[in-house]
Point group: C2
Chain length 123, copies 2
């Protein structure tokens, strides 16, 4: 549980930055080199390559992307399976909330029946 | 776009902490007071109330929960609609990836046809 939680910490934190999300969106379309990603970055003029590579490193540490170097060129690709823990967590929240709404629905239905039968509180 | 991005930053960052996710999971079952949430917290002995309330504040700033004070008791409730931007973003990634797989599938199918017809490269 703790291990899984820690993975969610790393994933959500990695996703909490616009540059990193932009990189993921680009890589969802296909692999790209570090230079291509940096040049395509909206704020490439405002962000030096070392800072940009820091974002790539965080994505790689989170398991969201992988990279490999051939000669002097490093290429990156998306690891789409890495989103699964995030999606599972959101799905769990949705299920809990839905169960709660079902219970509330039952409660209101019973209240209406009681009122109709004159067993509940009057208006 | 920038506004939406900034909202995603705040949401993902708020979700990147196990205490905050634990609070959300508890609130998905129904509203609770700050004391109830703090007492139910796994590490309540290790986390003083002011630190715990700091987490509640971050969740409230992200729009994930709302709170109201009656007398000396503050109650919190989940705002499940606040997950929507996160879910939309993940869905966009899934769609982009799926489109890419479709293109790859077409590519492989064409390659196989070319080989079969003897128009492609030989083994």
């Amino acid at each position: 549980m703790a291990k899984h939680d820690s993975q969610l910490d790393i994933l959500f934190t990695a996703l909490g930055d616009p540059t990193r999300r932009e990189i993921l969106t680009r890589l969802a379309r296909g692999p790209a080199t570090v230079s291509e990603l940096h040049n395509a970055h909206d704020g490439s003029k405002d962000m030096a390559l070392p800072s940009f590579m820091g974002h790539l490193k965080k994505l790689e540490e989170a398991g969201l992307i992988t990279s490999e170097k051939r000669g002097r060129v490093r290429s990156c690709r998306l690891n789409p399976g890495a989103f699964s823990p995030v999606q599972s967590w959101l799905e769990t929240q949705r299920t809990l909330w839905s169960e709660r709404l079902d219970r509330f629905d039952d409660y209101v239905t019973n209240l209406m029946k009681e009122r109709k039968n004159g067993t509940g509180p009057k208006d």
